[in-house]
Symmetry: C2
Subunit: 197 residues, 2 copies
């Protein structure tokens, strides 16, 4: 089923991958902001205009998957029995998503992300979109009144979980990838929820 739907879609996927490859190489080599779209396009052998038919913005090259990963997280979350309490369920769902690619590359990309304001902003924006996807399920787990739109509980819990993931990433980058990301996340959540503060 995956990749035999005609030459069109296949070549489109190929171009897509090629742009990503070329762009990432340029980004890591000379920096995100220093790389212009014209440069990416000409290096990838397409026109400037065509580039924008594959990616809406330059940031999307780096963060394109993030929104889809939100859907993955939602599916993962919905697959976890409702008897599992919110925090544990969120932790399981988020981990299922975040760990896939090569650690070394991931560190480089993360460094770039945390060091480039426009990228950081977009990534946070996309993480916010996760919130919408995950909140309904957490409401169920909380047994909250689904009609009460002014109950901040589920939103707060989801947003905090995502924030902890972000903080963990920050510390991870700061420590040059020496710490374990999962462990950092666990400690972040623990310290937020620790009663002794």
């Amino acid at each position: 089923m995956p990749d035999d739907d005609g030459l069109w879609k296949r070549s489109r996927r190929a171009v897509y991958a090629e742009i990503t490859r070329v762009a990432m190489e340029l980004f890591l080599d000379q920096g995100f902001e220093e790389t212009t779209i014209d440069q990416i396009a000409s290096t990838a052998g397409i026109s400037r205009r065509s580039f924008f038919r594959y990616f809406g913005t330059k940031e999307d090259i780096v963060l394109g998957d993030l929104v889809d990963q939100g859907s993955l997280a939602r599916e993962a979350l919905e697959a976890i029995p409702l008897s599992v309490p919110p925090w544990q369920a969120l932790q399981d769902a988020l981990w299922q998503v975040d760990q896939r690619t090569d650690q070394a590359v991931m560190l480089e990309v993360a460094k770039m992300m945390y060091g480039t304001p426009s990228l950081r902003a977009r990534s946070i924006e996309k993480h916010l979109r996760w919130q919408e996807q995950l909140v309904p399920n957490i409401r169920l787990r909380l047994g909250a009144d689904p009609g009460d739109a002014s109950d901040p509980a589920a939103d707060a819990i989801v947003a905090t979980a995502i924030t902890c993931l972000d903080v963990a990433g920050q510390i991870w980058v700061r420590g040059d990838g020496k710490d374990d990301l999962k462990e950092l996340y666990r400690r972040a959540v623990d310290s937020v929820r620790s009663p002794g503060t």
Copy 2:
């Protein structure tokens, strides 16, 4: 002491205020993204080029104070005795900042902020700057080892507090300002720290 340091600075402040006034009127009237900088400049009676000598970006007209408010929050936090535990101290410090302007205007601005991606992104970016300012003091309150850069506790707590403020604002806007913002914040933090989840 405030405003008698010569004609230059006084007139500069006047122009600054005038731009803000004019721009806000246009924003609330026809939307943020639909308002162009040329329009703001010509309405305020200055050149396009001069506009950029007062504001680095269009977003800064709306969010200009936010970074300064971070410093205010830091000062407020540092004025609270170290014996007060982190969460309470953060709550007090953040409240001292956020409640000042007219509620009706604030609601309009908040609606615009949560409804305009680029504004939302920038506001998050600026809130991140708050983090850097508040973390050191929270580390003190936690009695954390100041040399241990890989301890995520203080960062997580500060980030979560700010996130809860953000979530509260979101719900507040969603409910058209009917709820009490402070109350929403309190409930957000409570639900995050509630042990029964």
